[in-house]
Symmetry: C2
Subunit: 414 residues, 2 copies
């Protein structure tokens, strides 16, 4: 039976704390860099970031002046040709990559395919690809596909077990492919330790940064990460299906063999030569003609990070998720919700996941009350926070609405 | 030495003929479907089509309402999820493909990789991939890459020699990969005869339709084409780097193995299952999350073909290229220009290419005088025509301007 939820009420202590944390937030002004819909608490920015204010004017310019008026000349006069490398460097700045090692374009799946295949080629004679059994599906499917094509085997090893596995089998491992943040639970893994363990075994470390880039400081160069990929549309807020990116550490460039030698990765693309000669540097990882509208929208979106210190972003993100966990403990645990995101800040990404058997129905009911979260089968509600625009008061509102819809729907949420 | 060119003058007969052909053009009103820049003769639509009038309002809606307001729900409420198949079907209608066989997304290079690899897998035991020595570079590079990965060999056989080659070696050929239009010369090949020759040898026929789709009637279903790919940004005018497409004949769907099993091609993508189970039909050729901005811009662009009969497009295109060749013969041949595009209308795509040693400098000089063409090394000037907006009078203007800049620059155009 569904009844209209009561107006949200909350313990005064939580209300006051949320207000104080927001009042003291050094990043509060960044919220104006996003065009958020009114009367909505948007907590799905870890799936699709909201529209940055910088995007519409840039897209208008790309359409009407660059494409509409300057036409084909824009490949050079408006910097379209260099965009994959320029946007790649802008993303590189957010993941700790010095310029010239990151290229933007294609989808995460295509970039993963390239990264996995190239990694295997860089470690000839090694027969195993190792990945997380809980990894995002596309990562697992593509690891299987690359392994099958190359006659290798995939081993699925949870992050906690990886060092032990590598002690025993590491000499056979070409590459370990993990995400620093579990997309279901929001658990954060130790990139430094896992990268080091891979290297001690002589394997390469490939990281999928989809759920981390833009949400916390990353430092691929100084950790010695070998390859990394990620999407443009989660915490980077580049728009639906925004181009992905591929990072390849400079030391691997000379030996990098891409499985997709498209013409834009050629050393002299307009010579239209019969044989493929790879461009120097990471440019050889370019594939076909880039989707310029989506790519330049992403570039505009990245300006939301201009002047932003990711250490501050991380601090606020932890404040937000910590506050959410506290609210959930107080107001939702009695209704059968269990937090699966670690309480330890050092093991927490930028989302909170709650387990409840009615996850699907509750997420839908929340949306009807202006709180946008998402769910992952069978029973997880996911709440992403983005320190560039999320407030503590929004999180309290979300928890209160969830309490009310859960109460209204009964113990199983149905 | 450069001098200002004289004002264009032309034989009255050519002027009158251009005016009459344009006055009688049944497609003349379609030009209003494009936002062409003023004072420009744009003859590079075979490289980047101009901005269709339908695109800006759609992109504005995608940005501000769909992304900005509806946010993540748009994947379902605004049809984002189905867009690759919906846009695929819209392109299918232009290439003679019944619905359910074409998927839009990624770049032509990625789609070619998928098509070549899938074709090889459909013909196990056959050891040759055959392609055109004059094929667009990315087609050649990717054929080599797929062959290398699969332990196959590439044979480069000109289209005219293909039937003879297949008579001798056809039993070893997995797939023949050609374009119906030579991107340099504009020569049109006989898709029906070459497809039939491939089939008689038991091989598959894969066509790259980049330089043909939207410019002439294609009939992939009735010709029995096995696979086809193409881009969205030439005659389809979908915008810079607009998503590409892949056509797979229905009879191959059940056995289709894609080398890029991304999560969106899964039978139940939101189950996030550990194993990849391909979706039924051509949906299994979806890869990663599609670049929605670019994809929906392409969808809007395709409405420029609403109600348009491609037979009429072809007739006008031949009228345009025929008129251009006549003007070139009369006004440019005396200056050392040689037409390399066949005079026979049955062997002509939708462009005219002229050979001249000063091609590069002359193309640049033309652009300064408002005529946008392009060149291909070492010595070809390319003039693409698109019957949806190009006029005969524009072509006469282009030829006259080229005559004038050639005269001003001396015999070698430098």
């Amino acid at each position: 039976m569904t009844t209209a939820p009561a107006a949200p009420t909350a313990p005064a202590a939580l209300r006051e704390r949320a207000a104080r944390l927001d009042a003291d937030d050094p990043l509060a002004a960044l919220r104006d860099r996003f065009l958020l819909p009114p009367d909505t608490v948007y907590l799905d920015g870890n799936s699709l970031g909201p529209l940055p204010a910088a995007v519409p004017p840039v897209v208008r310019d790309v359409l009407t002046r660059q494409w509409g008026t300057d036409l084909i000349a824009s490949w050079h006069t408006n910097g379209w040709w260099e965009a994959p490398l320029r946007v790649g460097d802008a993303i590189g700045a957010l993941i700790g990559a010095a310029p010239g090692q990151t290229v933007a374009g294609d989808s995460t799946s295509v970039q993963l395919f390239t990264a996995l295949d190239a990694a295997a080629a860089l470690r000839p004679g090694r027969t195993l690809l190792v990945t997380d059994p809980e990894h995002f599906p596309t990562d697992r499917y593509l690891a299987e596909a690359v392994a099958r094509r190359r006659g290798l085997d995939v081993r699925r090893v949870p992050p906690a077990a990886l060092p032990g596995f590598l002690d025993a089998e590491g000499h056979r491992v070409a590459v370990v492919s993990y995400s620093p943040v579990d997309f279901r639970t929001g658990e954060l893994y130790d990139m430094r330790a896992l990268t080091r363990a891979a290297h001690q075994a002589g394997a390469l470390a490939l990281w999928d940064l989809c759920h981390a880039a833009g949400a916390l400081p990353l430092d691929v160069d100084s950790l010695g990460v070998d390859l990394a990929v990620g999407c443009g549309y989660k915490f980077l807020s580049g728009g639906p299906g925004a181009p992905a990116y591929l990072y390849v550490a400079r030391r691997h460039h000379a030996g990098l063999e891409t499985p997709l030698p498209g013409w834009t990765g050629h050393a002299d693309p307009f010579a239209m030569a019969p044989q493929y000669t790879p461009a120097p540097g990471v440019a050889r990882a370019r594939v076909g003609t880039p989707a310029i509208l989506s790519l330049l929208a992403l570039e505009a979106a990245l300006t939301a990070f201009d002047g932003v210190d990711l250490t501050e972003v991380r601090a606020k993100s932890l404040s937000l998720t910590g506050f959410f966990l506290r609210c959930a403990e107080e107001l939702l645990a009695p209704l059968g919700f269990t937090a699966v995101t670690p309480a330890d800040p050092g093991r927490r990404g930028s989302q909170v996941s709650l387990r409840h058997p009615g996850a699907r129905a509750l997420t839908a009911a929340l949306a009807e009350h202006g709180v946008i979260a998402d769910m992952r089968v069978p029973d997880l509600l996911r709440f992403g926070v983005n320190a560039l625009y999320t407030t503590h008061q929004e999180l309290l509102t979300a928890v209160l609405r969830l309490r009310d819809v859960a109460r209204a729907r009964g113990a199983d949420g149905s």
